[in-house]
Amino acid sequence: MAFNHKHLLGIESLSASDILTILDTAESMAEISTREVKKVPILRGKTIINLFYEASTRTRSSFELAAKRLSADISNFSKSTSSVVKGETLKDTIQNLEAMNTDAIIIRHASSGSPHFISSFCSSSVINAGDGTHEHPTQALLDAFTIRQHKKRIEGLKVVIVGDILHSRVARSNLLLLNKLGARVVLAGPPPLLPPEFQHYGAEVMYDMDRALEGADVVMMLRIQLERQKRIFFPSIREYRSLFSLNPERFRRAKRDAIIMHPGPINRDVEISTELADSAKSVILEQVENGVSVRMAVLYLLLGGKEREIPD
């Protein structure tokens, strides 16, 4: 069960066995967060940088807590506080940070492929906290952890992911992970946001949400991003809501013990009705809690129990 990776760039490079190792380790990590002293010394002396070029309080603070619970030192850099504003390139920023002897860099960036790019020249471990529309591996991992907690397994489940699939790195990472673990994935959304090419990556593509939800074990709603110019992709929020919003009537088509998930932050009454968001079926808050455990597991597996490589 050895975890032989230096970086976590995406789900793509993980085997099913790697994923299970992370999930199993996360279980042990979860226990630490229930103690009064929520800390273990395993990553003491390690230096981790949170480098967030995109706004995010949720993922960033989740990683920060995970690092601190493992006793690592972590520092936050965001786009506005760094010299990016002064025009410094990503490469220069990373090299300057590394000059301070970092062990790991957690990066969220708007350009797909940026974690790959920086891993080619930096010696720290690189952890992808979301790159453009490419991948968001820790989100998929915490989603799988949450599903497993409720359903005891992933294999054979019908998981339906609804929304703006085209622009969603969460959808892509989840799709890859669920396929590796043997689940059946159905994607639903309006055609401009759901290219048929996704069928080549192991998903069924449906434009009719009601049909898609039949017999679902897990319903994962994606955020419709109102920041981008979405007028081109669908004509109005009103129309989107009537066709693709998760409301109680629609949800009845899923299995009786189906769970509702969302990577957050949610747009109440746009992608999901308020009552469902707050219902017992919704595991949205657990996802957040599990995020810390899963990220602790990732940090431990990448950095724990290893001596720092001293370059020749």
């Binding site: 050895a2 630490i32 002293v37 273990v40 395993i42």
Partner: protein
């Protein structure tokens, strides 16, 4: 290149049983208030040793001592010795340790580093009143100032040998073995 082989079998099932019984009586003797005692076994074999001790105390005094499981992977400091990264399993202690007399239990006491990690972990979990240490085998070669309160057997060994407490629960028999490691003689 030699394969690893058993150099000596030091204790058989009968001797092991007697050692356990003796230790159980020592514990009962020294702990006036058994109701304040809790036992914490260190994964993996320490847990089975702990459970046997708890069973013997119950048989003798009729008191149910709670047993918890401690995983100390996240507190270790000896990674270069360990080689590969260790899988971390759950710590399962369902009772509070505050103000309790904790009996920490492990199968073999060697350098003392495992016990040091266990002490750190216990103290992060709460504030015990006292901590006592029970080990089945003390094989010497301490690197830290740690000593056990209850010992099943003192066993002088050379540093490179391995000592194994085989237990019926895992290995289908009770036996203490000294093992000569693989390699050039």
């Amino acid at each position: 290149m030699k394969k690893e082989k058993i150099k000596a079998r030091i204790m058989d099932a009968a001797k092991i049983k007697r050692a356990f019984q003796r230790m159980a009586h020592e514990i009962i003797e020294r702990n006036r208030d058994l109701n304040n005692l809790v036992i914490v076994g260190i994964r993996t074999r320490g847990v089975f040793v702990a459970k046997r001790i708890a069973k013997l105390i119950k048989e003798s005094e009729g008191v149910d001592i709670p047993v918890g499981v401690l995983d100390i992977t996240l507190y270790r400091d000896d990674f270069s010795d360990m080689g590969e990264q260790h899988i971390v399993k759950k710590t399962e202690i369902s009772f509070a340790v505050d103000k309790k007399d904790v009996l920490l239990v492990d199968d073999v006491l060697f350098t003392g580093r495992t016990i040091r990690a266990a002490l750190d972990s216990l103290i992060d979990l709460g504030r015990p009143k006292t901590i006592q240490l029970l080990v089945f085998i003390d094989r010497g070669h301490r690197e830290l100032p740690i000593r056990a309160d209850y010992v099943g057997k003192f066993l002088p060994t050379s540093r490179r040998e391995r000592v194994k407490l085989q237990m019926d629960e895992i290995d289908k028999k009770d036996e203490v073995q000294i093992i000569e490691p693989a390699g050039i003689n």
